[in-house]
Symmetry: C2
Subunit: 356 residues, 2 copies
DNA sequence: GTGAAAGCGCTAACAC
DNA sequence: GTGTTAGCGCTTTCAC
């Protein structure tokens, strides 16, 4: 076996093979090679064969960059995300990649170092300078991190926002968190619970506020009073779930059910109940939010409001591509759209009083 | 408030602003504009000011694509991943984005539809045609999905592989899963357990095999026999953890401790123990793998082998950039490297016999 | 059917 | 200091 096989090295200084190299070897003009590459009809079969042969021999690969330059099309989408280490953003990204793949688009990925963007211009400019054909802003709305939308200059390409309050003039795709909160709470009410507490996510998150509002409105609609001592806020983490549930138990001892803002905090809540000998659902019923697979194996398995984030990402790409296409067709303006995806209630032991 | 404010539309047919537009307005040659853009010294201060003014007025953004074409540099890395909906791959990606960001590199992201790639050539070609300067192959090694490395043509750019068996001639960065398996098992042995079972991941995964081998060798080294009835394989999911732990209990009733291939299956195992009244760790001790945050809040909190996947991604980028840089410097060959990251044991209640 | 010329947006090299 | 020319790799005219 030759040495080269044992220790393969990576050649680095090789000059790129261009269309002209192919043309020279095939003894045609580069224009003819271009025709072959693009499957144009007006090439003699014999020539076509010869050119293909050379292309394969040389392992020639046309430069997508040069093509983008000419066509002013990159078949690339810019994705801006944040918090990929969390489950939500990565699920959404998964949906985005899947759908983009199907449409033959490539993704330029940019993860922000944090949720609070100080200056979005460098990011937008970087994306624009790379000729992306559209942008998906997949960063959750927190505090005032959307204020810049007001001053957003007219972009030459479509942009879609995820996980934020719908605003006039911009395209938004989002889960209906408010309905999710209602769904959870109405389910508990239907089961006969009346002292329903809430462990929310951090309230500077739009999503957390929506879920909370759904809970609150459902209680109001049922003719129940809502007092401040019956809810607390965590930071989405299991650890905060433990901590805040302890506070909530103290503040609201008569609580017989609780709607928790996400499944991870719900795990923390279960932990507290477990340690104190509080039985679920006999003493306190629990409903979570998100629908992570593990929730079906908590002790006990918990009822949760399941949101399909992959679908969210997928729809965002579809909408974006549609906007790009429509723009390309009639060279006209694109009308912003607001799309809302309803979450689903998944009922498990933790909220069904009759269960053992 | 003007109508335009109420319903912002996206203009699409706007022609791109080029360096020539700026030059014309500033009444200089485009070359001078280029000089200003690139902060060259040989421009009169007065001219520089005037050009900058026009650039800002026009909100001109130089085309990164045209620049790439000239410089043969894109400042872009190609990332190939799979299974982003799982926690591992997204953690790794998180580390990659972080490090790439710091180095000023952009990422072209490609998620494979599955773990088993039939033909990698289209993927490689797509990346190469877009002038990426390096490639990170962040797909776990499963079955024969690495066989193509043998026939990999000499690439003009460096490539780094993650999560696979080291091979001569290619750069690999990986967690030391074997050591992780040993770590878990030796810890259990040190606690005095002797009937140590194993619930592995799917054995066509290299990582699962490594963890299993670590477990097996640790037992051997302790002078213990290992029989086939004392281990089973799941598919990483919590559901499979439930199912396989039930089988394992049947096959290996004297089991007093178990090393589970990941934390999610460990959750399933706990569920089974919980339902059967098997106490953890009094009756059976449990050690997981991965180190997901939730593991600290399982019932009971479980000991686990923690792997730093963000660090893995981060190191991969660093190595890749170093390879790119070294190639750019001396125009010579790049020597492949193998890097291994050791996981850490995190001890919690589930494996400490003395605990309550 | 095929080739020559021009140009996508930018910069390097050289002139002046 | 500034402008001109050529060209990165490719495609689009428009000849022939």
């Amino acid at each position: 076996m030759p040495v080269a096989q044992e220790k393969r090295r990576v050649m680095v200084s090789k000059r790129r093979i261009t269309i002209r190299d192919v043309a020279a070897l095939a003894e045609v003009s580069n224009q003819t090679v271009s025709r072959v590459l693009n499957d144009r009809p007006d090439v003699a079969e014999e020539t076509r064969q010869r050119v293909w042969q050379v292309i394969e021999d040389l392992n020639y690969q046309p430069s997508a960059i040069a093509r983008s330059l000419i066509h002013q099309r990159s078949f690339t989408l810019g994705i801006v995300t944040a918090g990929l280490k969390f489950i939500g953003p990565s699920q959404t990204l998964n949906g985005i990649t899947k759908q983009a793949e199907e449409a033959g688009y490539t993704l330029l990925l940019k993860e922000l170092p944090g949720f609070h963007t100080v200056d979005i211009n460098p990011i937008l400019n970087m994306l624009l300078s790379r000729q992306v054909e559209g942008i998906i802003w997949a960063v959750p709305e927190i505090g005032d991190n959307r204020d810049w939308i007001q001053g957003l200059p007219e972009l030459a390409i479509p942009m879609i926002f995820l996980d934020m309050q719908a605003r006039p003039g911009v395209s938004v795709v989002t889960i209906d968190n408010y309905s999710g909160g209602r769904l959870a709470t109405e389910h508990l009410l239907a089961q006969g619970y009346v002292h329903i507490g809430h462990l929310s996510g951090p309230l500077d998150w739009w999503e957390a506020r929506q879920r909370q509002a759904g809970w609150q409105d459902a209680l109001h609609d049922a003719g129940l009073q809502v007092s401040n001592r019956q809810w607390v806020s965590g930071n989405w983490s299991t650890a905060s779930g433990v901590q805040e549930m302890e506070r909530l138990l103290e503040n609201y001892p008569e609580m017989d059910a609780v709607f928790v803002g996400n499944d991870q905090m719900a795990l923390g809540a279960l932990q507290v109940f477990c340690q104190r000998g509080i039985r679920v659902p006999e003493d306190v019923a629990v409903v979570g939010f998100d629908g992570i697979p593990e929730a079906a194996y908590y002790c006990p398995p918990i009822t949760t409001v399941s949101q399909d984030l992959r679908e969210l990402g997928s729809i965002a790409v579809q909408e974006l591509l549609q906007a790009i296409e429509s723009a390309r067709q009639d060279h006209t303006t694109y009308e912003p759209k607001q799309i809302t995806i309803r979450p689903e209630l998944v009922v498990r032991e933790s909220s069904v009083a009759a269960s053992v």
